[in-house]
Amino acid sequence: MIRIRNATKTFSSFKAVDNISLDIKERETLVLLGTSGCGKTTTLKLINRLIELSAGSIEVAGKNIQQQKPEELRRRIGYVIQGAGLFPHYTVKENIAVVPRLLGWNKSKTETQTSRILEIMGLSAQKYLWKYPRELSGGQQQRVGLARALVTDPPVVLMDEPFGALDPITRSSILHEFRNLEALRHKTVILVTHDIQEAFELGDRICLMDKGEIQQLGTPKELVFQPANAFVRRFLQERRFQLQLQVLQLAELHSYLQPHLTFTDTNIITLPGTASVLEATQLLSVATYPRPVIALEATATTPALHLGISDIMAAVDKYIQTLNL
């Protein structure tokens, strides 16, 4: 969907982005991760030409961006920024209708789509269309910001630290919703963040950057278990264990799990094989009595299993040992 080839951006003598090549697949969520100043935001803005390339080329949907008018390019790409960036003199309705207006949509189409997307974002159109941004909470503003980027159903959406300005609780609830958002499922999303947790939760693939260069591009699992260099290892060091649990699915532990007696009288939680190990351990660590047990669903090739926390931790340990060998 997006091809970046040898992209370089130089500000006077400073190379913000240094010879990056990157392919972003259709319907993929790619996270650009790194510390501030690593070049991730610059890379994002190169794609919609808010920053112009110094060298190299970028194609979006097969067309070289340099051969299009920047305004027209941008109108076809959704754009979400930190703190939503809503225009304070526009109502929610006017804010969402900015791009439809630029595209010259007629009034009724604009109105229908505006209300529809707002409802999808979990805000009642009737209640919120006429409000001004200052009357909304941070979380609501961010939803409107998302609605504004998605209202024209663009195939590509660029997001620049979209959840950066939210408090932790609002943030985690929006993150959760965001991951399950149907409207985003068929889109190619490029999201910039400095938050490791967020990157691992949302990214199909993660592109970890430093000093304008790509340090590693891969799935979350690859970054955790096969760090490409010392920088990647160091970058993930602090959260390594949690990330390991997060990227592993229960089904992957199957061959390391001991068949176990079936509990009968305990609190049983059933999970699919695709659930993450982290989710399972979090459910098991809830301090109630009787202690809960995870029931892993049977698949075509594997039988159903009942697991306690110690079973899971032992299996994880074995999994990692095998990898290291």
């Binding site: 930190q82 304070p88 630029l102």
Partner: protein, 519 residues
């Protein structure tokens, strides 16, 4: 309470004039403000795009605003003449700064992330400007326009100085004539106008977006309406430019009108600017003082007051009687100058100091030598005589002459306290014995110091001998101060024309002028 009643009376009597001035004032303000908006707003926007130019543009606009208004109006006369044109141009220059600066600041303070969001969504630079930057800059931008409007209402009073009318006519006339109701009749409407402009602009700012357009349209239609009354053609034979004091004082233009049945086509101007205006042929007749050095500088002809309409202002030295008693030898010296200086001679002497830039001492010495009166200083060690003078050239020269004479003819010492602010300061100093001698004018003595009732003053004015006798008798009785015999010249009001034009039209007296106008 008396003032209030006088004020109400004045407004009732002059309501027509007041309305006219108010309309002129509004016109001046609106036209100049519109010009500033039309020029300043795009300029302000331009420097948000080409930031390198912002320092220069704001700097120039800032410098323009520091030019003193009367000086600016003076600069403009050679290019734009007098009347509304230079006034509007000056007001336009003054209101540029707040408009440019606030446009620039307003747009620059719009959150950069909003601008980036707008561009990221695909707005063109023009759309960014009109949909995001301008609406968000509007409060700051409007504050600039409001500042400029209030500023313009205030500065527009100065338009009266160059015959552009407005409420300044009453204000400056009132100040010149010490007429409080007249000042108030100009100042109060001006203040109300400033408040009204501010209020209306504030309302305009808060209009919903939909209603802004009709309001703007109305505004655009209103401007030609206000401009129109500056276009009324003026085809008088001769145009007079009068200072507010002369135009209002009973012994000035009103007296002239009564004595000669003279009806001039007049405009009001600053005393400092009338000479320039007549020189540039913006007006043909001006008022002034008959011994002013500028008469020679600008080659003007003083029209002879053949029916003695202007009151006599004969110059003479005022001396405290005790001084004369202690030093009887002084009298003879003081009278050496009596009757020796006529009008044109005094004009010439003033000219030498004011425009040929010689010192009053040199001019005085040269004159005394020419008359054979000069004697080298005796460097005597006698008592000290203190001379005073008001703060203008003629008085400096006279005081200097007297000082040189006293030093040359007596053993007394002389010290001078020159540049005393005005009549009252000079006279009070004399009465208190702080100074011993200073030059004064009979008319001033009669009107300002003795406060003679108008009717009596009028009848005395007709005869200069009688007037001198009256004044000197009264001063002796009341203050023990003596008027020495007059020096000879009469520094009174005068009507003047350009020498060339007066010659061509054969006008030497005010009666000639009247005849010419009636032909």
């Amino acid at each position: 309470m008396n003032d209030l009643a006088a004020f109400v009376d004045f407004v009732r009597l002059q309501s027509g004039k007041l309305l006219e001035q108010t309309l002129e004032h509004i016109g001046l303000t609106i036209i100049s403000l519109s010009l500033s908006i039309v020029i300043g707003l795009p300029l302000g926007l331009l420097i948000t795009r080409y930031k390198r130019g912002s320092g220069t543009v704001l700097g120039i606009a800032g410098i323009l605003q520091t030019i003193p208004s009367i000086a600016l109006l003076g600069f403009l006369i050679p290019f734009l003449g007098i009347g509304p044109k230079p006034a509007i141009f000056a007001l336009f220059l003054y209101s540029l700064l707040p408009i440019i600066r606030n446009t620039y600041t307003g747009v620059m303070q719009v959150d950069p992330t909003l601008k980036e969001a707008a561009r990221g969504m695909g707005m063109t630079d023009w759309q960014l400007l009109t949909r995001i930057e301008l609406p968000l800059a509007l409060p700051v931008l409007f504050a600039g326009i409001r500042t400029a409007a209030v500023l313009n209402v205030g500065v527009a009073t100065l338009a009266a100085y160059i015959a552009a009318g407005g409420l300044g006519e009453f204000i400056f006339g009132g100040i010149a004539l010490n007429n409080t109701p007249m000042i108030l009749a100009g100042a109060i409407p001006a203040a109300l106008l400033a408040i009204a402009f501010d209020f209306i602009l504030a309302r305009l700012q808060n209009l919903r977006r939909g209603r802004l357009k009709p309001a703007l349209l109305l505004f655009c239609l209103g401007i030609p309406l206000f401009s129109s009354f500056y276009l009324i053609p003026n085809n008088a034979k001769l145009q007079a430019g009068l200072s507010p004091e002369f135009a209002g004082r009973p012994d000035g233009y009103p007296g002239l009108k009564a004595t000669y049945q003279l009806d001039l086509n007049t405009v009001i101007m600053a005393p400092a600017l009338v000479y320039k205006a007549v020189y540039e042929s913006d007006v043909d007749i001006i008022d002034g003082y008959s011994t002013d050095g500028k008469i020679k500088t600008y080659n003007l002809r003083v029209l002879e007051d053949d029916k003695q309409s202007f009151p006599p202002y004969h110059a003479a030295f005022l001396v405290r009687e005790p001084v004369l008693q202690q030093h009887p030898e002084l009298r003879q010296v003081l009278e050496l100058l009596s009757g020796t200086i006529n009008d044109s001679l005094m004009t010439e002497l003033n000219y030498q100091v004011d425009f040929a830039k010689q010192s009053p001492a040199d001019v005085a010495k040269a004159y005394l030598k020419k008359k054979g009166l000069w004697q080298a200083s005796r460097s005597g060690l006698g008592e000290t005589i203190v001379l005073g003078s008001k703060i203008f050239t003629e008085q400096y020269i006279l005081t200097e002459m007297l000082s040189q004479l006293i030093k040359g003819y007596t053993d007394l010492q002389v010290s001078a306290k020159t540049g005393l602010g005005g009549t009252k300061i000079c006279f009070d100093a004399l009465a208190a014995g702080e100074i011993d001698i200073y030059p004064e004018y009979t008319g001033t003595g009669l009107q300002v110091i003795l406060n003679t009732p108008p009717a009596l003053a009028d009848s005395l004015s007709k005869d200069k001998e009688l007037m001198f006798k009256y004044v000197s008798t009264r001063f002796q009785e009341r203050f023990q101060i003596e008027w020495l015999p007059p020096l000879g010249f009469n520094n009174t009001y005068a009507l003047m024309m350009r020498e060339q034009q007066a010659k061509r039209l054969h006008i030497t007296t005010i009666s000639d002028l009247k005849h010419y106008l009636e032909q």
